[in-house]
């Protein structure tokens, strides 16, 4: 639930979260609380458990034990209905651009006339005007990811999860996506986004969750984590990141 | 419940396929390939259908299969040519009564070169003995049909069991008369066939009639109404009407007048 006074979207809390496969801990997060007003970026090397954590927060994966709560209540169907997710490679329905958005709106039982208005507004938000009738599968990588974000936004989510949405895109396309994310955040959507791009974290993050080998090694304000990291793992990752 | 569902389904299917038909407006006749392939039924049936309004649907298979289908009740009238099997069919209660309809005859057909030297003869048993002796290819139906049963009777009379040579000079096709004639034409084999199928057959190659006229080659056709007491669905009234017509003056005259290549193929002999 969004706080009516501050406009800050609902708090996400993780307690004793653990996932293990074949005796190896893939995720082990005793406590994490996301309650800041701006975008949270989850940063870390490949295999750190970033995507796994994101899927737990969205309820796509049930952890072996532990729980995810929103505003102190264990994540339920109502919460999930007000969460959107954008995947690393966009999964678009084999239909037109407009039909991809309509699919989501129709599921919310929005009347036809209103759906048309919403679709037009969304398309202009994503710079996809004029592509409404085009097949979604024929869009470029950047356009496809924009459509995936628009479709998630069509849910009018409180929280928007993004899993490395720009990892396959060129700098220009990446910039367009980042602007969309910031606009959504400014409108009060809680953004939780996974990236391994330090520059992106610097551009977008209000707070940063640094992960390594399934653990959260550091969580704090972006400036502090990036410029004065407390943990050795963060320092090592940021140093490596600066070299590349 | 299930029956209702099946009924509804069949009505739907029937409507879709456009098969809904007036009751007893047709009968199913289980018959043999010879009556159909010769063109006889196409020639005589329109007369009956015009007179009575009853559509005759002919299923043409081998005599053996025709009788088995009739035992299952899948036909109203049986029109075949294997007297012993027909009498057995009636004796077992599957048919009401057997009537003679007509006869035609079998002929022994073979290559013009006639390697067995049987040409011009009129003794089928002697001819088969010569074929077996020279071990030239002989094509047999091998399908328990009326023609096949007739062929086996003649081998039996000659004291020969050709099935011992199956796969060498004796070739069993397991198919209908036409398919067997195609095989014989292809390999230059001797073959026993009814004259009607032979005359209407279009792919003779260098085959010709070598032996004919033996009284033992006469081929009697009988007609039987499938017993409605065994199968309630049998269209007995319409079936009986067809049998009465076929064995009556109109049907007999129609059979007599059917010619192919200027030859009469079937000889009516209903009593």
């Amino acid at each position: 639930m969004r706080d009516v006074l501050t406009g800050i979207p609902g708090t996400l809390e993780v307690r004793d979260l653990a996932i293990a496969r074949k005796g190896k801990a893939l995720l082990d997060v005793p406590y994490l609380c996301l309650d800041g007003p701006g975008p949270t970026l989850i940063l870390g090397p490949n295999g750190a458990g970033k995507s796994l954590l994101l899927r737990c927060l969205h309820g796509l994966i049930s952890p072996d034990h532990g729980r995810v709560c929103q505003d102190g209540i264990v994540l339920n169907a109502d919460h999930k209905a007000r969460q959107g997710m954008v995947f690393q490679s966009p999964v678009l329905l084999r239909r037109s651009v407009a039909a991809n958005l309509d699919f989501v709106l129709k599921r919310q039982s929005i009347p036809r006339a209103m759906r048309k208005q919403r679709i037009a507004a969304l398309l202009s938000e994503g710079g996809l005007e004029g592509k409404a009738r085009q097949s979604a599968r024929s869009l470029s990588g950047g356009e496809a990811q924009r459509l995936a974000i628009l479709r998630a936004l069509a849910l009018e989510p409180e929280t928007l999860f993004l899993d490395e949405p720009t990892s396959a895109l060129d700098p220009g396309a990446t910039q367009v996506i980042e602007r969309m994310v910031l606009r959504a955040s400014a409108k009060g959507v809680r953004i939780v986004m996974v990236t391994h791009d330090i520059g992106q974290a610097r551009r977008l993050a209000s707070d940063i969750v640094m992960m390594q080998a399934g653990r959260v090694v550091e969580h704090g304000a972006a400036g502090q984590v990036l410029d004065a990291p407390e943990s050795a793992e963060s320092r090592r990752y940021l140093a490596g990141g600066l070299v590349t | 419940m299930i029956r209702g569902f099946i009924g509804a389904l069949s009505v739907t299917l029937g409507l879709m396929a456009g098969t809904a038909s007036a009751e007893e407006a047709f009968i199913v006749v289980q018959s043999t390939t010879s009556t159909q392939n010769s063109g006889l039924l196409d020639y005589i049936l329109p007369g009956f259908e015009a007179e009575t309004g009853i559509d005759v649907r002919v299923v043409a298979v081998g005599t053996g299969q025709a009788i088995r289908n009739a035992v299952n009740g899948d036909g109203d009238v049986l029109l075949v040519h294997s007297k012993a099997a027909e009498e057995q069919f009636v004796a077992d209660g599957w048919g009401v009564e057997r009537f003679d309809v007509m006869y035609n005859d079998f002929v022994l057909v073979g290559p013009q070169s006639d390697p067995a030297g049987v040409k011009g003869g009129s003794d089928i048993v002697a001819a088969l003995t010569a074929v077996a002796g020279s071990e030239v290819p002989f094509a047999s139906r091998g399908d328990d049909s009326g023609t096949h049963k007739a062929e086996m009777r003649h081998w039996n009379a000659a004291g020969i069991d050709p099935t011992g040579a199956s796969g060498t000079w004796y070739r069993e096709t397991g198919s209908g008369m036409g398919a067997t004639l195609n095989v014989a034409s292809g390999m230059g084999a001797y073959v026993l066939t009814d004259r009607a199928t032979w005359l209407s057959f279009g792919n003779r190659g260098d085959l010709e009639v070598l032996v004919e006229g033996d009284p033992r080659l006469f081929n009697q056709y009988g007609v039987i109404l499938v017993n409605p007491e065994k199968h309630t669905g049998v269209r007995a009234a319409a079936g009986q009407r067809f049998i009465d017509w076929l064995t009556g003056p109109d049907g007999q005259a129609a059979i007599e007048s059917y010619m192919l290549d200027g030859q009469q193929l079937f000889f009516p002999n209903a009593k």
Binding site: L93, F103, L155 | L13, G18, S200, F201, G205, G233
Partner: protein, 237 residues
Amino acid sequence: MQGFASEFNQALSLILQGDAELWAIVLLSLRVSLFAVLISAAIGMPVGAALAVARFPGRRMLIILLNALMGLPPVVVGLLVYLMLSRSGPLGVLELLYTPTAMIIAQVVLVTPIVAALTRQVVEMLAEEYAEQLRSLGVSQMASVPVLLWDARLALMTALLAGFGRAIAEVGAVIIVGGNINHVTRVMTTTIALETSKGNLALALALGAILIGIAIAVNAMVSSLTLRAEREGLRHA
């Protein structure tokens, strides 16, 4: 085999002159097989899609069985349907033997496993791709079936055309349950069998040519659909 060329010419002229008897046979073939494919689609697609998304014990075995049923010998199907529809069979009271309906039933038995098995394959591939996204959008497993069927529509058309090709070219089943009755249940394949047995190769060839023409048309449709799918990026995998 002498006169083969002249028989082929005769066949050609029968087609070109639009011989009424010939075209009635062609139309019956098309009608029977189209109905059979429609019914097979109505049964096979939901079954195939459900099998693709549902998880239950014995599912693996069911898929193997379904794939095996794709190769059912038509004669065996014909015999089974005959035994069901025969007056002495369990469904004898329906009086369906030797009707086009009986032929439709036999073809449905032949084609449904093909449609179901191909649907299962296509939908399972698509479901793997869509699974997380659909769950993220709150679409339940059962509700995902129509979504997947619709999005796999082009590949499913190919499956239906494959089924249609099997149905229209099949002779073993329809000749047993249809009886090859003139003007009632005589279709292209049974006529070809009959005319061949009469040594009437001309008409048999004419019908064979039409059958090949339909096969070519069906394949052209499949390939143009595939082409369109590729152009629009609708093709998956």
